[in-house]
């Protein structure tokens, strides 16, 4: 509940700022996918159950601000959370390079999952060139955003009592 109470309002604030301020000041520039960045952080830090619920609700929240069909981002973000949480034992989550690396992979995975789900379920068969062409720029924007937001995530994580499951820490 603590994770949700901290990260849900944060994500809402990010999304409101993204859809208003960002589009007014930088109308042509792609905006960062802050919800994905939160999910990736939670994937490395939060427990499976609480993090999963966070991923699902943040996905639903993103659906309110983006796209056409409710549930679309919920599937994608929950899948990304599950994969990240599944891999975290193999990685040293406390290494500052892990989250940027996960951002690169996660952004690609987000785009590919979007294409897959849109092609599989809906008739948006023309959207994939648009998504594919936007991946490189999206990765750069997300990388810059994660470098800026990481300290904030860490602070909120400490408040929520999140602990990484990095192998060396478990040994201690």
């Amino acid at each position: 509940m603590k994770y949700w109470l901290l990260f849900f309002p944060l994500s809402t604030l990010f999304l409101v700022v993204q859809t208003t301020l960002w589009t007014m000041l930088l109308p042509q520039a792609p905006c960062p996918n802050t919800t994905l960045l939160i999910i990736l952080y939670l994937g490395f830090q939060a427990p499976f159950g609480a993090g999963g619920i966070c991923a699902f609700t943040l996905g639903c929240l993103l659906d309110v601000f983006s796209g056409v069909t409710f549930g679309f981002h919920a599937i994608i973000l929950l899948t990304i959370f599950m994969v990240t949480a599944g891999f975290r034992r193999q990685l040293n989550a406390d290494n500052p390079l892990v989250l940027p690396f996960a951002t690169i992979v996660g952004t690609g995975a987000f785009a590919l999952l979007s294409i897959f789900i849109l092609l599989l379920f809906s008739d948006r068969d023309q959207v994939w060139p648009q998504i594919l062409s936007s991946i490189p720029m999206q990765i750069i924007v997300n990388l810059v955003a994660v470098l800026i937001l990481r300290p904030l995530f860490t602070k909120l994580g400490l408040i929520a009592g999140l602990q990484s499951t990095a192998p060396f820490r478990r040994q201690i």
Partner: protein, 272 residues
């Protein structure tokens, strides 16, 4: 099996959650567009914040453009520049008012041309993701707006409403890949479907029998059940006629400049 489930309880719960998300998405995809309680609540709660940020940013931009930018000059030229500042402030204000006046006049003229009841609205935000093309307007169910209502601007079709809360609505732009509008090439009446491709429109099912030309205008056909007949959609920019096949490949540029869209009209009641 039960033993396996109890061992992998958390993983199993997450898979159940994923299945729920999949079912939710699949269900939402197949049913008539509507706005659920969660969406309504979030839109209702965030609408004042969105409006506040938009107004504050506009205020700051205006302040910056009208006053702060001139502070340095003012220090150098004292009274003269102060006068100039005041005049330029007034000029900018006048220009802004004149531009707004022109836009609103166009919208008003267009409103008179549209047969039916319309609700004017302001664009308050854009889509949170880069590959969807939706905007949010500051009017919702309180103003009589429902899902699937046509949204237009003075220069042409904007899109249709897809999610409606009490004081705000999301509009799917015609340039979104999931948007398809029944249309006509104005001069030779070829029936087409104008589908969004992100920035432009791809006109599908244009028969080869009558050739479309670059510069031809595309208007709504009134057949899709959402848009009234005869509203401009865009202008043809590219025509390709393949050697084989039944149809021409047509690309069109939307009539509306979505990057500068500020005011729109929602047609809440169409005359039959």
């Amino acid at each position: 099996m039960l033993e396996f489930i109890s061992l992998q309880k958390r993983l199993f719960a997450l898979f159940v959650l994923l299945l729920c998300a999949l079912l939710l998405y699949s269900y939402d995809l197949r049913k008539k567009p509507d706005t659920n309680l969660f969406e309504r609540s979030i839109l209702l709660l965030t609408e004042p914040l969105s409006q506040g940020i938009t107004r504050t940013t506009n205020g700051v931009i205006t302040l910056w453009q009208d006053y702060l930018y001139l502070v340095g000059v003012k220090l150098k030229n004292n009274e003269l520049v102060l006068k100039l500042n005041r005049l330029s402030h007034l000029e900018i204000e006048n220009n802004e008012l004149a531009a707004e006046n022109v836009r609103l006049k166009q919208l008003l003229n267009f409103r008179d041309r549209v047969k039916g009841e319309t609700v004017p609205a302001l664009v308050i935000s854009a889509d949170a993701m880069n590959w969807f093309r939706t905007i949010t307007i500051n009017k919702g169910t309180d103003s009589g707006i429902q899902e699937n209502m046509p949204v237009v601007a003075a220069s042409g079709v904007v899109g249709r409403t897809i999610k409606c809360a009490a004081k705000s609505s999301r509009v799917l732009l015609i340039t979104d890949a999931s948007s398809a509008v029944a249309a006509l090439v104005q001069h030779n009446r070829i029936r087409i479907i104008a589908r969004g491709t992100g920035a432009n429109l791809s006109c599908e099912y244009a028969t080869r029998l009558e050739e479309a030309k670059i510069g031809d205008h595309i208007v709504t056909s009134g057949n899709g059940g959402v848009f009234p007949k005869g509203i401009p959609i865009g202008t043809i920019t590219e025509v390709q006629t393949p050697k084989y096949g039944l149809f021409q490949a047509i690309t069109a540029m939307p009539a509306v400049d979505f990057s500068r869209l500020e005011e729109v009209l929602v047609i809440v009641k169409q005359e039959q």
